[in-house]
């Protein structure tokens, strides 16, 4: 079920998982996504909060530290696997595009 739900990651999901390759707290994740995408992908706090909840439920990320109400997370092996699958899928999309569109455009 989890696999199916996260088969094609949305852009915010992809960038959040990427940013969690390093341990980060919620506020840092928003900034990291901005930085990695050079400001192209914008993740609102509401969306981030909902997605972190889902990822944690599916054991794609885990909580590392709680300081007061500030929680930090890091990606798990399962999360890495899903992220990598998505990465490979995206690469193959680009390569297919290069091969087929390159000659015609």
């Amino acid at each position: 079920m989890a696999r199916e739900q996260f088969q094609n990651l949305t852009e915010p999901m992809y960038y959040i998982l990427m940013s969690l390759l390093e341990e980060r707290c919620g506020v840092d994740i928003m900034e990291a996504v901005d930085k990695i995408s050079k400001g192209r992908v914008n993740v609102g706090p509401g969306t981030l909060y909902a997605l972190l909840g889902k990822f944690e439920k599916e054991s794609m990320i885990r909580e590392t530290e709680v300081q007061g109400r500030k929680r930090s997370y890091i990606i798990t092996d399962k999360g890495k696997e899903i992220l990598l699958e998505e990465y490979k899928r995206l690469i193959s999309l680009v390569e297919d595009g290069k091969k087929y569109m390159g000659e015609r455009l």
Binding site: G46, L48, Y49, A50, R69
Partner: protein, 433 residues
Amino acid sequence: MSWKDTKITFFNYFPYDCAAVEEYLERMAAKGWLLQSINRGFFKFKKIEQKKIKYTVDTLSKVSVFDVKDSDAAVEYREYCEAAGWNYVCENGKTQIFCTEDDKKIRPIHTDAEEKFKEVFKSSLLYVICQLVVAFMCIFIIKSTIFSGNTEHLLASSFLIILGMLMIFFLILGVIQITSFLIWAIKARHQTVKNKLMPYNNYRQLRVRNILTNGCILVYIFTFLRYSIFTTTNKWQFALLIFIIIFSVVVMIYVNSVIEKKALIGKTNEAIIILSTIAFVVFIVFLIVNIIRPNVTTVNEDSIQRENASLLLSDFGYKEDKSANINFDKSILATRTMCSDENSNHTLSYTVFQSKYSWVMDIQKKERLRRFNNLGIHKIQHSVNIPSNIEIFTYDDKKSFILVSKDKIVDINRSFYYTSYQEFLDKVYKKLF
């Protein structure tokens, strides 16, 4: 309602009305009113200078409606939003309200329409399911009372009329709210699939719905007061009832505020709120049943009762063992007198139903004819002494009769044959019409 620097308004909303509430709050800010808090649909504003403020009305499905204020999940969520530049204003159940005066640079709270739809849908569902349960209960009660084929008792009892109206009122409210939710959910789902911007109810739509629901509430309160004052024979009983209702509401609000302040464990909190609400409803129903029902008859009612129960076994020459058993009901629509007189061998029982409304009389006549259809009810010729505007029906081998005039129905049964039916009817007419 508004004082010097404070204004309180009533604005009922569901989580899926978030955009409409945002628009409402922004309009209020433009008029110089800043939101302070929300408590069950009551919005409290503070006077400020007129300015442009951008609001976000957000729902957090993770927060339970039974949770105390400032639950851990809500506080954590607020920190996320505050980090993104939003200022927290207040919360109401699952709703979290944020605002900013600088909406250009700030990032929106939700950047994924589908995630937002899921959150809003999940948060609204509980309210809608409650509405649905109430609506089905109302349909069941309405069906088993109004459409039971025996409305005589209902029409002659003010208490049942008030209860019936309350059910119809809840049903209308439920239907308005459930329809509104379904239209939104289908439209929003459709748009998300097409990757388009999600439509949330706007301020105008919510205002129309609120006018309809508030209209229903006012009509109900008005009729409730009108009927209660009209039918309660003792005015002090009515005053006492109103006093006790107001007192209970105050106690209920106090209990709630204590619960909200003291952080009890989730489940305990839930149990206290549910149990105190049930106790409150039972208490109010108990009061209405026991106080609103008139138990002292007035002089006027006493004379109707005596007049409508004046036919006794002794009128036919039979001895009475004990005095007749008489029951009297009166509502704003009709009066009903039930009389049964018996000795060891004979019985005479009848119901006199009286109403000045022709539609009430129509319903009663049709119901009776339908009810006794199987027993071969049929119309008979008039007796010489009874005017022709009174219709006479009989069934059960001329032991039972129904006499119908413009404003009175007499439904009478006898166990004796010795008096001829013509003579019997003459007596009935003479005594009861």
